[in-house]
């Protein structure tokens, strides 16, 4: 079982959702780690949840990326530790340089809160083993700055080296089927891996769809995959 910790920055607001999803699949509550912590020894998986760290003032994730705990996350990543960043967590990972590219304002300049469909680009990573390759699943998104961008060479490299984790995909029927890449992300990229596939950043929130009561369990395989690792 992966020893798991969730980072808490001031302004983070999806740490409870994440903890519930982790506990449901792992059978054990994750540790909550305050942003001033400098030692992550003993953890296998560090999760950076969604929210508005430091108000997302200046740029989303910019100030969190400079906080003490992110130095420790870099050390953790350098020794091969696993990192999952969702939404603001993804933004923080790019700002910290642990993943390439950046998340810009949504193409329509409005906050987007809706379900989106994601396609699984590969299922041979620790995060996606319980999905099928090419499977399309549903996940809520809720962000103002999810428009993934990188220079064309980086995008080519991400695609060429199999580092795209999820893409926005058309859904079946209903109003959600059209215009599926609503935030305008380059090549419809919703999530990416580090070259060793041990760091995953994505904008949508699989942790908010792990209970049939909330509309489905499409996000649960991600946590089941990690729980089985």
């Amino acid at each position: 079982m992966l020893q798991t910790g969730i980072l808490i920055f001031p302004g983070i607001n999806r740490e409870r959702d994440m903890a519930i999803a982790v506990e449901q699949s792992f059978g054990k509550a994750p540790k909550l780690i305050w942003h001033k912590e400098t030692d992550l020894t003993g953890l296998d998986l560090v999760i950076i949840p969604g929210g508005f760290s430091f108000g997302d003032y200046l740029r989303c994730g910019a100030m969190a990326a400079q906080s003490p705990v992110m130095q420790a996350v870099k050390t953790h990543a350098a020794r091969g530790g696993y990192v999952l960043g969702v939404c603001n967590g993804f933004q923080i990972l790019t700002e910290a340089g642990l993943l390439p590219g950046a998340l810009l304002r949504n193409a329509g300049l409005r906050f987007l809160s809706m379900d989106t469909m994601l396609s699984v680009e590969r299922n041979d990573t620790i995060f996606t083993a319980h999905y099928q390759k090419g499977q399309v699943f549903r996940a809520p998104l809720a962000h103002g700055d999810g428009n993934y961008t990188a220079d064309p060479a980086t995008l080519d490299r991400l695609e060429g080296e199999g580092l795209v984790a999820f893409r926005y995909a058309p859904g079946a029927g209903g109003a959600e089927s059209q215009n599926y890449n609503r935030n305008g992300s380059a090549r419809a990229i919703a999530g990416i891996y580090s070259p060793n596939h041990r760091i995953l950043g994505l904008m949508p929130h699989p942790e908010d769809l792990v209970d049939p009561l909330m509309g489905g369990t499409d996000g649960k395989p991600l946590f089941d995959s990690l729980a089985a690792a």
């Binding site: 790019t94 700002e95 304002r105 300049l109």
Partner: protein, 80 residues
């Protein structure tokens, strides 16, 4: 001493905000407006009194935090 840091998206990075502002200006009848780029200005009050030292320090700040060098560029002006 004050430092004024201007942060802009790099040329070539799509600026939807600038585009929307341009669109709105055109709609208001300002047809002379072509491309619009939106950025931000950050004003810092410094204790340093040597303008060269001050500028070097602020450039470090800009690279580390104030601008995201993946998508943004910056300019530092020192005003007394």
């Amino acid at each position: 001493m004050k430092a004024i840091v201007t942060v802009m998206l790099k040329d070539g990075v799509l600026d939807p905000q600038g585009k929307a502002i341009g669109h709105a200006l055109n709609n208001l009848g300002f047809t002379q407006v072509g491309d619009v780029r939106a950025g931000k200005i950050i004003e810092l009050t410094l204790t340093e009194s040597d303008p060269l030292v001050a500028k070097a320090g602020v450039e470090d700040m800009a690279k580390m935090l104030l601008a995201n060098m993946v998508i943004e560029s910056f300019k530092v002006e020192i005003a007394s």
